[in-house]
Structures are given as structure tokens and as C-alpha cells.
């Protein structure tokens, strides 16, 4: 348990710093005045023409989600790559199995046409 002491301290310090910023901002900036112009989004000075509630094509969402999934999988490969030597053949086999699963998923997604961009 002792070795986790410093980690706990860092978390504490981070919480303290962010809390102090937050409280300082609320105290100092207490009397903000909100006028319709001030709260409007800044679009190079022109009246903003509704970039907020626009119905975007679904392909953007698909690409974003797929990226998140494959990125997280990439994160798992890094620690393995660091301890590549110590894990030996067993580690290699495990990682290839893991990669196999990802490749299958990628094939499925590709065939279903989720990666298509020019509709």
C-alpha cells in the first residue's frame, strides 16, 4: 500500500490546484454582465448562421467511434511492446491472438461499408 502514497499525493495536489483555480475564478469574476451580444458565439464578427444545431451526416459519427475503439486497442499494445523481451513466446502468442480479434473486427467493419467516405 505504501508504494501508492506518492500517487495519492499527486491526486490530492491536482484536486487542490484545480479547486483553487475554480474558486478564484468564481470569486473574482462574480459580477459578469451577460448581454445577448456577449453570449453569442464568436464567428469572425458576423452573425453566426446556425452552425450549432445542424444535422450532420452519420459517417462522421461512425468514423469517430471506430477511431476510439481501435485507438484504445492500440493503447494495450504499448505495454506489451515495452516488456516484449520479458514476456517471451507466451506474450507473443497472446498478442497475436489479441491482434487477430482486432483484424477480424476491422474486416467486418470494412465489408459493412462503415469506412466509406464518398457516399
Amino acid at each position: 500500500m505504501a508504494i501508492y502514497g506518492p500517487v495519492f499525493l499527486i491526486l490530492l495536489a491536482a484536486a487542490a490546484v484545480s479547486a483553487s483555480f475554480w474558486t478564484a475564478a468564481t470569486i473574482l469574476g462574480r459580477n459578469r454582465v451577460h448581454t445577448p451580444d456577449k453570449d453569442a458565439p464568436f464567428e469572425c464578427g458576423s452573425e453566426s448562421t446556425g452552425a450549432r444545431d445542424v444535422k450532420l451526416s452519420v459517417k462522421f459519427y461512425m468514423t469517430a467511434i471506430l477511431f476510439v475503439v481501435f485507438d484504445v486497442e492500440a493503447v494495450f499494445i504499448y505495454p506489451w511492446a515495452v516488456h516484449f523481451r520479458t514476456l517471451g513466446w507466451y506474450g507473443l502468442g497472446e498478442m497475436f491472438a489479441f491482434l487477430g480479434v482486432i483484424i477480424v473486427a476491422l474486416m467486418y467493419v470494412w465489408k459493412k461499408g462503415a469506412l466509406e467516405w464518398e457516399t
Partner: protein, 404 residues
């Protein structure tokens, strides 16, 4: 329960989606503060763009109808405010064509020298700003330092760094100062050094080249039908430079090349401008040698040119002439004329209509970058959003001239 992923052969299950509208508004670092582009985007690709100008419309043509012919010079300075001297020379030549005047040789050479200096400062500013808008801030500072040297010479000659108002109908305000040769001979090599240093840093930089090559291409025929002139037209391979096609002043007596591009994309427009800086240096050097070191700077037509100050204070005729010229303006003969010169961005034309009085009836300026920016939406449609910045920078839109 039916399985969800039915295979839809008959047309995709496409959810209705609207394009996103975005304002690349007037107050934008890459839009020179005066152009607003309303973009219709699908993702990063621009499907439709509406370029709106007029945010710096200052009513140049209406203001010219108020004062005399000579009072138009300060307004003409502020059209293409990056190279004001070229506007002065263009307007002076237009009025002289209407009056049928010809200026002495010394003044013609002097106009060419100061005009080419202004062209150098125009191209330095445009290429520097283009590099800065793509993130290369250091070459921008170098090019502005080089432009300071050009401005020092112009300040020494005309008294003002930017808005000289140095042209007069029938001549120039003052003769060249005695150390013009020394100033130019020492400044021009240093300016070339800085330009070469900037080029070494930019033209071998992979990122810079990838951002410019093949971006916003336009063919020669399209450019001509859009009314393009100047460096942007020459970048598309059309060899049309008014100093060569219809020489005015003394451009036919000196040799210089006209840099021509090949594919008409942003990189060619960048390289044509850098090439023109070197040609302008050659023109200045040859003009410096051939300019007579003495002789009148203004033509001797009393109806148009102001008398010298000591005459005005001593003789009554000069005083009357001075009073009538200032108060009622030079009496330009009735009629209309169109005169054109090669300014920084292309063919700068002046269509003057005179009704014989001292006040211009109509002064129409043909701003070269107005037509060039007119073709911008054709260059950026279908391309990426980030390609707008280099393309727009390479057109060198100057608010004062485009919105006159």
C-alpha cells in the same frame, strides 16, 4: 424480431443531413480583415462558397468628384496601399494622356525607379504574409525588415513611408534627392540577400510545398475569361505584362524578363512574385544609370504644373497661376480616356471623364484584384477548408483596391 442489419440493396438507408454553414468572416487573420466567405461545408470539403467583399468600400469614386484633379492623388495612394507609388504613376499617366502632356525623360526614369521600389515592397508583403498565414512567422519578419529598407528609400525621397502622394499631373513633386543612387545601391543587394534567405527556408520545406503545390489551380483560358491580369495570370502561363505588351514610360528601352508560371497553382503565383522582385531590381539598376542627373522634373505647361515657390512669392503672374491652379484646379480638356499601367496586382486602369472644369466628372478605377478575387470561389469549391488560406493569400487581395 427481424435482425437489424438487413442488407439494403435498394438504396442506402440514408439519414437526412444538412450541410454545415460557416462564416470565414470579415475579422479573420487570413481574410485581411475585409472579406467574408460564407461556406457550405460537408465535413472538410467546401460544397459552396459565397465570397462577400465591400467591407472596406470607402467611396473612392464619389470622393474624386468633390475636389480638383490634383486632390485625387491622396485618394489614389490609398487604393493599393501596399504599393502606393504605382497608383500615383498610373493616375498621373491617365490625366496626362487626357491633357496630351508628355513628361521630361528625367521624370519618366524617376517614376520607373520609385514604381519598381513600390512593386518590390508589394511582393515582399504578399509573399511574407502568405508564409506567415501558413505558420512560417520568421520569413514574414525578415521580409518586413527588407520592406523597411525599401520604405527608408521612399521616405528619403518622398517624405512619407507609405502614403507618399508624390505624383503630380505633369511631373513629380520634387526632383530625386542627391543620394538616391547610394541608397539604392546599398539597399537592393541586402534586400536580395534577405529574399534568398527566405526562399532557402521556404522552398525546401516539405510542409510549405505540400500546402501550396496543386492548390487552387486555374487554367490560362479560364483566368483570361475571368478578367485576371498580373502575377496571377502570368502564373497560369499567359505572357501578358503591360510593361512588355504596351510599353509606357521607358520600359521599352531596358531589358528585363517576365517570369511565367506553368500550372497556375498557388506555388506558381508565389514563385512569380519572387521572380518579379529580382526583375524589379534589374529595372531599378538600369534606370539609375540612365536617369539624367539634372534637368526639369515637371513639364513646362503652366496651365497644369504649379510654379516654383520663389516665383510665387516674387512675381504676380506666378501667384495668379498658383491661385487658379489650387483653387479651381487644372482645366483638363473635355472628353474621356482609359489609361492602364502594370500595378502590383495587374492592370490598374483609370477611366476618366472630364467636363472641362477643374473637377473630375467621373474617375473610374479598374482595380486588378477585384477580378482576381471574383474567381476565388471557383478556386476553392470542392477543396479542403484549409486550402482557402494559401489560395486567398496568393491572390493578394488588397481591401482598399478591391472595394475602392
Amino acid at each position: 424480431m427481424e435482425p437489424l442489419d438487413l442488407s439494403h440493396e435498394n438504396g442506402e438507408l440514408e439519414l437526412p443531413s444538412e450541410p454545415m454553414h460557416l462564416n470565414m468572416g470579415p475579422s479573420h487573420p487570413a481574410m485581411h480583415g475585409t472579406v467574408r466567405i460564407v461556406l457550405e461545408l460537408s465535413g472538410e470539403i467546401i460544397t459552396k462558397s459565397d465570397v462577400q467583399i465591400g467591407y472596406l468600400h470607402r467611396g473612392f469614386e464619389k470622393m474624386c468628384e468633390r475636389g480638383t484633379w490634383a486632390q485625387v492623388f491622396p485618394y489614389v495612394d490609398r487604393l493599393n496601399y501596399v504599393s502606393p507609388m504605382l497608383n500615383n504613376v498610373g493616375y498621373a499617366l491617365a490625366v496626362e494622356k487626357l491633357c496630351g502632356l508628355s513628361v521630361p525623360d528625367r521624370c519618366q526614369w524617376y517614376r520607373m525607379i520609385l514604381g519598381e521600389l513600390a512593386r518590390i515592397s508589394d511582393h515582399l508583403t504578399c509573399t511574407g504574409a502568405m508564409a506567415m498565414e501558413l505558420g512560417a512567422f520568421t520569413p514574414f519578419l525578415w521580409f518586413v525588415k527588407a520592406r523597411e529598407m525599401v520604405w527608408d528609400i521612399l521616405e528619403e525621397e518622398t517624405g512619407a513611408r507609405l502614403t507618399h502622394s508624390f505624383g503630380r499631373i505633369g511631373g513629380m513633386a520634387f526632383p530625386p534627392s542627391r543620394d538616391l543612387r547610394a541608397l539604392c545601391s546599398s539597399a537592393l543587394p541586402r534586400i536580395l540577400e534577405i529574399v534568398e534567405e527566405g526562399e532557402k527556408m521556404l522552398l525546401k520545406n516539405r510542409i510549405f510545398l505540400d500546402r501550396l503545390e496543386g492548390v487552387g489551380p486555374i487554367s490560362g483560358a479560364d483566368a483570361v475569361s475571368l478578367g485576371w491580369t498580373g502575377p496571377c495570370l502570368r502564373a497560369s502561363g499567359i505572357d501578358y505584362d503591360i510593361r512588355k505588351a504596351h510599353p509606357y514610360l521607358k520600359y521599352d528601352e531596358i531589358d528585363f524578363e517576365v517570369p511565367i508560371g506553368t500550372s497556375g497553382d498557388t506555388l506558381d503565383r508565389f514563385l512569380v512574385r519572387l521572380g518579379e522582385i529580382r526583375q524589379s531590381k534589374r529595372i531599378i539598376e538600369q534606370s539609375l544609370e540612365r536617369m539624367p542627373s539634372d534637368g526639369p522634373i515637371c513639364c513646362d505647361d503652366p496651365r497644369v504644373v504649379l510654379p516654383s515657390k520663389d516665383d510665387v512669392y516674387t512675381t504676380i503672374e506666378a501667384t495668379i497661376q498658383h491661385f487658379k491652379l489650387i483653387m479651381e484646379g487644372a482645366k483638363v480638356p473635355k472628353g474621356e480616356v482609359y489609361s492602364y499601367t502594370e500595378a502590383g496586382n495587374g492592370e490598374l486602369g483609370f477611366y476618366l471623364v472630364s467636363d472641362g472644369t477643374g473637377t473630375p466628372y467621373r474617375v473610374r478605377v479598374r482595380p486588378p484584384c477585384f477580378q482576381v478575387v471574383g474567381g476565388l470561389s471557383r478556386l476553392i469549391d470542392g477543396r479542403l477548408l484549409s486550402d482557402i488560406v494559401p489560395t486567398f493569400g496568393s491572390l493578394n487581395m488588397i481591401g482598399g483596391e478591391c472595394d475602392h
